[in-house]
């Protein structure tokens, strides 16, 4: 049962990655692309980590996985903010 839920979560995570990648390639401007990338990747990685946490028996490994997700969340949010701010400053000097 746990195995099945983990697989479903990982599959859903991969779908979000797919959507994010397609968005990065197809959306028209930098803001839309950032939107697709950060939202989809954060949620995708979150689901992936949730699935992997269910698959491991080791508490330390589970905590490390959650830590990775939190670090990526913080870094990608700040990175997206910086890129968007730079792009906006470039538009109206």
């Amino acid at each position: 049962m746990t195995d099945l839920i983990a697989r479903a979560l990982i599959g859903a995570g991969i779908l979000f990655y797919l959507a994010g990648s397609i968005g990065l390639l197809r959306l028209p401007d930098i803001y839309c692309r950032l939107h697709a990338l950060t939202k989809a990747d954060n949620l995708g990685l979150g689901l992936l980590v949730a699935g992997l946490v269910l698959l491991t028996d080791d508490l330390a490994v589970a905590l490390k996985l959650v830590l990775i997700w939190l670090l990526v969340l913080a870094a990608s949010a700040a990175g997206a903010h910086l890129i968007a701010g730079q792009a906006r400053r470039g538009e109206d000097p």
């Binding site: 910086l82 701010g85 470039g90």
Partner: protein, 334 residues
């Protein structure tokens, strides 16, 4: 041994690596080239991990992709931008010339050399004797004071090499200091980047300490730990602190010399005690290696950070100065 999925993964990694390498070399826009180079380093780290060399994977990700990438980007910052356009430049059709005779000859020569090297490699694998180096290392690892074979080789069996590597780093550092005071920093960070730096830097310092400690029995060690400390310094400089957290004067000199000095000091002390130079007595080896690695971590971190600063670091900004420089924060504090 490996299933088809893993073989497929390896083939994919090789293809992506080669594709990124050629895209990096072919890129006409240096900025794009640098970003591709960073991606190349990250994929290379994955390749090292697949080759069961996690030490190299860590070093490649931290130094090859992270710090070299930061250095290249910092070097590009001084380059005048071609044209500040909002979007990417319109793609100019690449002028593809037909390769001339010399280029063809060179290509054939490279192909021939590649075949010879590949043949020699396969030959070497076929006649591998039982007395390979890894066997010798593992046979005597009990005397080295550590249980991680990479650390045993670096800090005990081949300690001379590592001492000389640290001396090379010291020479590089002297070269950087000879450039004079550093030129200009980065704009002070807004609240978002400053907040992220406040989160990340303590975590990076903790990770550096962990990598140093764990190097005795698992992948890690002074070089990886030093690179992580340097990453913290790079983040600090990018967030507007011009000194990147490096000290000045005597403290900076002590930090730069610590690695070589402690290494040499331990070696000479062992000579005085009647041991060979850097011949650690087994009961003490673990402690001595940790002492040397601790000093080396600080020096490596300082050297790499100084490479990013690119000259003698200025004094730390006082909190008043920082507030005056940072309009975003000044607005919040009436």
């Amino acid at each position: 041994m490996d299933g088809p999925a893993l073989i497929l993964l390896d083939a994919l990694l090789i293809l992506v690596l080669l594709g990124l390498a050629s895209a990096t070399l072919e890129s006409r826009d240096p900025r794009r080239g640098v970003v591709l180079f960073i991606a190349f380093g990250l994929v290379l780290a994955l390749v090292w991990a697949r080759l069961a060399a996690p030490d190299l994977a860590l070093a490649e990700a931290a130094i090859g992709a992270g710090l070299s990438g930061a250095l290249l980007l910092a070097a590009l910052r001084d380059e005048p931008r071609p044209e500040p356009g909002p979007g990417p430049e319109p793609a100019t059709p690449a002028r593809r010339r037909r390769p001339n005779l010399t280029q063809r000859a060179l290509g054939l020569l490279c192909l021939g050399l590649g075949l010879v090297v590949a043949w020699a490699f396969v030959d070497a694998l076929a006649v591998a004797e039982p007395e390979r180096l890894d066997g010798q290392v593992l046979a005597r690892i009990g005397e080295s004071g550590v249980s991680n074979p990479v650390t045993a080789v670096l800090l005990n069996f081949r300690a001379y090499d590592t001492l000389l590597e640290l001396a090379v780093l010291l020479a590089a550092l002297l070269g950087i200091l000879a450039l004079g005071p550093e030129r200009g920093g980065y704009a002070p960070a807004g609240p978002v980047l400053a907040g992220l730096a406040g989160w990340l830097i303590p975590g990076l310092i903790l990770t550096g300490g962990y990598l140093l400690w764990v190097g005795a029995h698992a992948p890690g060690g002074a070089f990886q730990a030093g690179a992580v400390l340097a990453a913290a310094a790079v983040i600090r400089r990018l967030a507007g602190e011009r000194s990147a957290g490096l000290p000045q004067g005597l403290a900076l000199r002590a930090l730069s010399l610590a690695g070589v000095a402690v290494f040499l000091g331990v070696g000479l002390a062992l000579l005085v005690a009647g041991q060979p130079f850097l011949g650690f007595p087994p009961p003490w080896a673990g402690t001595l290696i940790l002492v040397i690695e601790s000093a080396a971590t600080l020096t490596i971190g300082a050297t790499l950070a100084l490479a990013f600063v690119g000259g003698r670091p200025p004094a730390w900004d006082s909190p008043q100065q920082r507030r005056a420089l940072n309009p975003a924060r000044a607005r919040n504090q009436p």
